[in-house]
Symmetry: C2
Subunit: 369 residues, 2 copies
């Protein structure tokens, strides 16, 4: 059962922590060495609780384990839901030595992390991500937060977990749509930093879609390794880390337009990466074969290749302007100088951006190709 256990480390001085990847870890792996006090609060949601709550409890032998079960969905990533965690912590008299545990996908992880960052001005927490997207992205790196009606993840904190425990078996209960959403972030690592990994993904995409455990484990390991490397160099997104946002400015606009939760985050990022590649081509940074390779691999992950029905270029421009990544109102985007080589730039040609937006919004009258 433990043959396949792999471990890597996020190197952040006194905040360094391990990522442990393997099969059958839920229910068996002892996480109590990562708990400093006697109290643990598992935060999960209605969908995940019936599947993995009891197995997660078993990871904390000898501890007082309390539980709060949140409603499921991005639309609940708000203050009201966050407050359910604080209510439970205070009702159960959890001290500042408590440890929070996020058991679920990215929404549960982001909210639990922010609750941990804020409860009594900061307590430790543990990530047990159960979706592909959270395993390869949101559970690693310490970004936590909630949404605001005027923007996604606008309220939050940088708060690193004590450990990330990834049980690849939990992927077997995902909907195909959730697997695809996770693959968007996996592909991203290939596009921004690692053409070898991109080539590997092009070979293994069918196995990944089929939930082949060996292929998934490799994809998760390489994704986490890439993210850990970037985060170790730039924890608070002063520079390099911003390349992890490839496709995200377009994606956030899509998510906001569609209403939180109607498009999965990874779906919006998938389309966003195609758009970033298209704009990179128009700005003379990559060639057509590069753009096409991006569109093809994202498409093979069964991700949408078009903005939501009814969304216009103006909607994009309006919604992209409040994106966090746009300092002082100017538009900053992650583009591809080559496959495997992403840069953050404010040198965005508005005419070319408009052309890209029109293509993906279905109006091809202005398309150059």
């Amino acid at each position: 059962m433990r043959d396949s256990l792999r471990e890597l480390s996020v190197e952040l001085d006194d905040r360094s922590y391990p990522i442990i990847i393997g099969q059958g870890l839920l229910g068996g792996y002892d996480l109590s060495p990562y708990v400093r006090g006697s109290q643990v609060m598992i935060v999960t949601n209605e969908t995940v609780a019936p599947l993995y709550l009891e197995s997660a409890r078993a990871c904390f032998p000898g501890k007082q384990v309390d539980v709060v079960v949140l409603p499921d969905g991005e639309k609940f990533k708000d203050w009201q839901t966050l407050n359910l965690i604080f209510d439970r912590l205070l009702e159960n008299r959890h001290s500042r030595k408590t440890t929070l545990v996020a058991l679920g996908g990215g929404v549960v992880g982001d909210m639990t992390g922010f609750a941990a960052a804020s409860y009594q001005r900061g307590v430790p927490f543990i990530q047990i991500p159960t979706t592909l997207l959270s395993q390869v992205d949101s559970s690693v790196g310490g970004k936590t937060g909630i949404n605001h009606p005027l923007g996604k993840n606008m309220i939050g904190a940088f708060h690193q977990p004590e450990v990330v425990l990834i049980d690849t078996d939990s992927l077997q209960t995902l909907l195909p749509r959730e697997v695809s959403a996770g693959l968007a972030e996996v592909i991203k690592y290939g596009l921004i930093r690692d053409t070898d990994f991109l080539a590997w993904l092009e070979r293994e995409m069918a196995s990944l879609i089929d939930l082949d455990t060996k292929a998934l484990s490799e994809a998760i390991y390489r994704s986490c390794a890439c993210k850990a490397e970037v985060v170790a160099q730039d924890e608070r997104e002063g520079g390099l880390r911003a390349i992890l946002n490839l496709g995200h400015t377009f994606g956030h606009a899509i998510e906001t337009f569609a209403g939180y939760g109607n498009w999965l985050h990874g779906e919006a990022v998938g389309t966003g990466m195609m758009m970033a590649a298209d704009l990179s081509l128009r700005q003379g940074m990559i060639g057509e074969e590069g753009r096409d390779r991006v569109v093809r691999i994202v498409g093979r992950a069964n991700l949408p290749g078009h903005a939501p029905v009814g969304m216009t270029p103006d909607d994009f421009l309006r919604l992209m302007a409040v994106d966090k990544k746009n300092v002082d109102g100017s538009l900053r985007l992650v583009l591809l100088r080559a496959l495997g080589d992403a840069i953050v730039t404010e040198a965005v040609d508005m005419q070319k951006l408009n052309a890209t937006l029109q293509v993906f919004c279905g109006d091809t009258s202005n398309e150059e190709a």
Copy 2:
């Protein structure tokens, strides 16, 4: 006007910052060197805005200055009011290079600091405290947060300001009750660390109550110096910093019982310090003359010497149990080993604690003295 300008520093490596104390600073002192971007959001309340908002604006020449005016009072120190700050920041498209400015008392400072800690996962902020209590205590040290119905300051962050600007002239508009509340924290520094300062306060209390500028300036300087020293040694309250909570566990119980805002924080702390001194006597740590000296100096600051009407020892025990400072359910208190020498201890004799509670709740039947 600037003759009396004094400056000291809170030493926290790359998060060190100056505290600037003087007369007439609002309206004249240029704070723009402390603003990294082009945007500033002044957060203040309905009471302070008519008095000092325009003067505060003048401290940021050449910047885009936006304003949000909150309702006044501890009962508004909650998520709903905090969200007014986020709303305004997002409506006015403040980027992650914005700087927040807290203009007001402790509630404005704590909320603005937490908004700055959380907006886009952290932006800088500046403290311009306008009450004595916030000038000598809450504006220095980086504790920020909001209340929860089940406990005060339960949700928050450690987030240090860029600079603290203290204009002693702003004290002239305070109500006598607010001056007294501030003096409670001033007296605290004498009691926990500095008997020379305590003796000075015993001599100068009448001048302080009369708002003598020179005396106030000295009291603020010495209080801030004491706090800066403690915070520099223990930023996140792993040990030493806890002594700053002398009287606060009792005080928080009083505030919660009375309903936030009915007792001023400093009033509750004043009574709480008398209670801590009384318990210190009962536990054989200080003598009667020490206890009496505490009761006398707190009383001379016109602070209440009795728990709220109707509050019982059981109310205290119940409300003290959820205090943040009580790790894992055990009761920890700051007591006085001598005047000028505070310690944090879990060695609380419950019988003696009960005797103290009964005295301050008006039941003297069990009093030993």
